[in-house]
């Protein structure tokens, strides 16, 4: 079953994915303190609380593509992004870079694989060291990793800054002397400086004003062409993802519920959650519309619903939905969804 799903997912023409995750899981456990442990041993205290932030996700990203990862707050999209970027170790599951498990690679190859994946963060105010000048922020990593000589660093930083649309004359300044959009460009320059092949962008434009968002989004598209980059573009903003992504994965409470080519997915969403999400995106061409929102809120990941996580909010839920977890399987060439309704 999963064999067919895999072949459908990846047409023979495409080779090894640039980045692939298999059964990746992240659990955050709130450990007991000493008192809690003793109480627990005596059988009176509460059990340790476990948050299933990411729950057995499979995802493959082909070279050169933009995969949009969409979900609401608390769905685990950032945690997934961080694990893929290598900033956070997974609890379970494997990360494969060009088909090779990063965890088992020998030292030098492993460093190269880690360097090839860079991350751009949401908050350009928190992700830059306020006590370093722009030239240090951008130039430090390539120098340390031996990509440029100490003497060549200055010229290299100028080149990268120019590339992301910043005036190299400003490189002696500190981050606080820049606007939000410019800071995000500094963050992008820092990521680009180590010549990555894959960028994980976590809500990279969410904190910016509309007109600045457009500038940065355009920059991402330019860089993709110029440097042959692959993106995992994480966002809660469906219209942004629809604009930039080739393929889209929709996440709900730690699991991917639907995945497919952007155009097909937005034209005919399969999963009831995707349908609800798309229906509620405000659009310029819909005037004085009557909002008919989906009921309820995202349940707590501390205590996720049984079976399909979406069943308490789903208008089509049956008994089966609360009993068994639907399989994430192929529903059309290149498209997968996890919904029992597809079996009928």
């Amino acid at each position: 079953m999963s064999e067919t799903a895999d072949t459908l997912e990846r047409p023979a023409a495409e080779g090894t994915p640039l980045m692939e995750v298999r059964g990746i899981t992240k659990r955050f456990v709130k450990r007991h303190d000493t008192a809690g442990r003793i109480a627990h041993r005596l059988g009176v205290g509460p059990a340790e609380e476990t948050v299933h932030a990411v729950d057995g996700v499979d995802l493959a990203i082909q070279p050169g593509e933009v995969l949009g990862l969409v979900g609401e707050s608390g769905c685990g999209k950032s945690t997934l992004g961080r694990m893929i970027a290598g900033v956070m170790p997974p609890t379970e599951g494997r990360l494969l870079f060009e088909g090779q498990d990063i965890a088992t690679l020998p030292g030098a190859d492993r460093r190269a694989a880690t360097l090839a994946v860079q991350m751009i963060f949401q908050d350009p105010f928190a992700s830059l060291n306020p006590r370093k000048r722009v030239e240090e922020i951008v130039g430090e990593a390539p120098r340390v990793h031996g990509l440029v000589s100490a003497r060549g660093t200055g010229a290299y930083v100028d080149e990268i800054l120019t590339r992301v649309g910043l005036d190299p004359a400003l490189k002696r300044r500190y981050p606080h002397q820049f606007s939000g959009g410019q800071r995000q460009r500094i963050g992008i320059a820092r990521a680009l400086a180590v010549k990555p092949r894959f960028l994980v962008c976590d809500e990279a434009i969410a904190a910016l004003d509309v007109s600045i968002q457009a500038q940065v989004l355009n920059l991402f598209m330019d860089l993709r062409n110029d440097f042959d980059l692959t993106y995992l573009f994480i966002s809660h903003d469906l219209s942004v993802v629809e604009h930039i992504a080739d393929r889209v994965a929709i996440m709900y409470l730690g699991r991917i519920v639907e995945q497919g080519p952007a155009e097909a997915l937005f034209a005919a969403p399969n999963h009831p959650y995707t349908q609800a999400l798309l229906a509620e995106v405000p659009r310029l061409d819909q005037r004085r519309r009557q909002f008919e929102p989906v009921k309820g809120e995202i349940p707590s990941p501390l205590d996720p619903p049984s079976g399909c996580h979406f069943h308490p909010r789903c208008p089509h839920a049956t008994e089966r939905c609360s009993a068994t977890r639907p399989e994430f399987r192929a529903i059309a060439p290149g498209r997968r969804a996890a919904c029992h309704l597809n079996d009928a």
Binding site: E72, S73, S179, G181, Q182, D209, V210, S211, I212, Q213, A214, Q215, L217, N218, M221, H236, L238, S239, V240, E242, H243, I244, A262, E263, F266, A276, L277, E280, V281, P282, R283, L284, D285, Q286, R287, R288, R289, Q290, F291, E292, P293, V294, E297, I298
Partner: protein
């Protein structure tokens, strides 16, 4: 049209700072009628929130209303006695903030706060006030309102808190609600719920609403009319259809072009060059001049609001070179 609920005329709100005088709101005029929803759109620093705060008399020093008038049901609010404003606030005029914790007191239960809000403006018994609070919560679509009444704000989720804040705003059936980015911090499905509640309550009770946001798409689906602010001035206003389908001002055109949409997938977005100007160092004339593709020598003179199209007398723009309808229809179709 009957007398509007709110009529703002040439409003000036200035902040005197050591570095100079920031004209955060610089000659803003608009009006809102009963049951009408007006979208006030702009980027950070455009003065949209300060306009909202000015209406409620909530501008604190170093800011002050330096001129103009705010008439609420015919009554002048600029220079009104603080007691009078306090009597109106939370009663006839209410505000919904971006962060519901600005409305809610974290150490008081929801019912305590709501009963207080009712009894501050009407002499009713605690039980009657409690009953009204319960009804208000139920109206905003909060499940099991009795339980929520006994909760503290920290026990509620972000969406639930915002709904409680909205319930408080609607508690005394106000004539006007100023909503300042009420859904910006929320998820799409929760945003849709909040907009739905606000929309329904306005339509049912005839409350006028000013919805302040940076999100044009939200306003397009919600509001009847829209005003676009840039550097303290309303650069364009009109009905939703007029402004979004056939905008006059180059800034509005640029903003609309920077919203990603399905029919331009993968194409480059129109970007407005440069960044939002520093209010302390505005160029003379049109503030958008430096970023505008149509700017020329005429733009050094500050343009007054006018309606360049004969068939749209209520579609105003502050621009020396407004887009004319036919040219734009062509640009929009490409």
């Amino acid at each position: 049209m009957s007398e509007p609920v709110l009529a703002v005329e040439a409003l000036q709100t200035h902040f005197a700072m050591r570095a100079g005088l920031a004209r955060a709101v610089d000659g803003v005029s608009f009006s809102v009628g009963a049951g009408e929803i007006m979208g006030l759109v702009g980027e950070s620093g455009s003065g949209k929130s300060v306009t909202g705060f000015s209406i409620l008399g909530l501008v604190d020093p170093p800011g002050r209303i330096a001129g103009g008038s705010i008439r609420f049901r015919g009554e002048e609010l600029v220079g009104a006695a603080p007691e009078r404003l306090r009597a109106l606030r939370g009663n006839r005029i209410a505000m919904i903030f971006q962060d519901p914790m600005m409305t809610l007191n974290p150490v008081l239960r929801v019912d305590t706060q709501m009963i207080e809000a009712v009894r501050a403006h009407a002499s009713v018994s605690r039980d009657a006030a409690r009953q009204r609070a319960r009804e208000a919560l139920a109206r905003t679509g909060i499940p099991s309102p009795d339980e929520r009444l006994r909760a503290y704000p920290h026990q509620l989720s972000g969406g639930m808190r915002q709904r409680v804040a909205i319930a408080i705003a609607f508690l005394n059936a106000p004539d006007l609600i100023v909503a300042d980015e009420p859904t910006t911090a929320l998820d799409v499905t929760i945003q849709a719920q909040i907009i739905h509640e606000a929309q329904t309550l306005c339509r049912e009770s005839g409350t006028a609403m000013i919805w302040i946001t940076h999100d044009l798409a939200v306003v397009a689906g919600l509001a009847d009319r829209i005003a676009v602010m840039y550097a303290g001035r309303i650069v364009e206003q009109g009905t939703i259809d007029q402004v979004i389908d056939t905008p006059l001002h180059p800034y509005t055109v640029g903003l609309l072009g920077s919203v990603p949409s399905a029919n331009r997938r993968g194409e480059k977005l129109t970007q407005i060059p440069g960044m939002t100007p520093d209010l302390l160092a505005l160029p003379p004339g049109c503030a958008f001049r430096a970023r505008c593709p149509r700017a020329d020598a005429a733009c050094t003179i500050a343009p007054e609001p006018r309606a360049p199209r004969a068939d749209e007398p209520d579609h105003l723009a502050r621009c020396q070179h407004p887009h004319d309808a036919p040219a734009l229809a062509g640009a929009g179709a490409e």
